[in-house]
Assembly symmetry: C2
Homo-oligomer: 146 residues x 2
């Protein structure tokens, strides 16, 4: 299949608040006051979870359709922990990002256990956001003068 | 430092649209019609880029402060490509997610080249979202019956 290209542009509204443009959509990213922000929106690591939840919903429905069982809806819970020491330049002992993320999918369906297990494996394997988190993704960051 | 815990909960509004709750914030994730959605909001892989942009803004300002140069603002551009063949179950030749992401930071500042290079390295090293994308992150996905 032809590759899909995605892009966004963003501008700092404050040192902790960012306005992102994705196609026609504006997304505000902020931080709570304790992390230097104005708390007008979710923060970056919460948006990572939102992206993962959105992707799992799409994949869950797509794969249920392929497997011929009715998925009436799905609830998703995600949690994760990170040590902010590296972010704040206090220590390099831990990584900067989430050390671990836990996802619970609660599908509303009548599929049996074997079917649900196969569904779960396919959802994880084919979910783009899951893939980019679980496995290394090349991210090249460069600087240009304004 | 004490670890920070983050969590979200989400519910499918349609097979491709998800409503995410992060603290008091509602985030809508959707897909364009070509990917089965209603196009009410950015899609999951665009939110990954929004999260990365938001995180880079925070880190850019934090580290400029530490390095004692004035960062008057920053513009960020991110692009990436993925092959949707795995997502749609057509082929397992390529990974599901972004194969590569390219980020351009455009800081509005008077720092010299050496300073900007040190800044760039620290921003990348200490940015949580960058870290979760660039390096493997354990994501445990489980299923519970509703």
């Amino acid at each position: 299949m032809a590759e899909l290209k995605f892009d966004i542009s963003a501008v700092s509204e404050t040192p902790a608040r960012t306005r992102v443009k994705a196609r026609d959509f504006d997304i505000i990213v902020d931080e709570p006051p304790g992390l230097g922000g104005t708390d007008q929106a979710a923060n970056p690591v919460e948006y990572v979870m939102a992206a993962l939840a959105g992707c799992l919903n799409v994949m869950g429905h797509l794969i249920a359709d392929e497997m011929n069982f009715a998925l009436r809806g799905i609830e998703i819970e995600i949690s994760g922990t990170l040590n902010p020491a590296r972010l704040f330049g206090k220590s390099e002992a831990d990584r900067a990002g989430y050390k671990h993320m836990t996802v619970t999918l609660k599908p509303d369906c009548d599929a049996d256990e074997d079917t649900l297990e196969k569904w779960l494996q396919a959802v994880q394997d084919r979910c783009p956001v899951c893939d980019n988190l679980k496995y290394e993704t090349p991210v090249d960051v460069g600087v240009e003068r304004v």
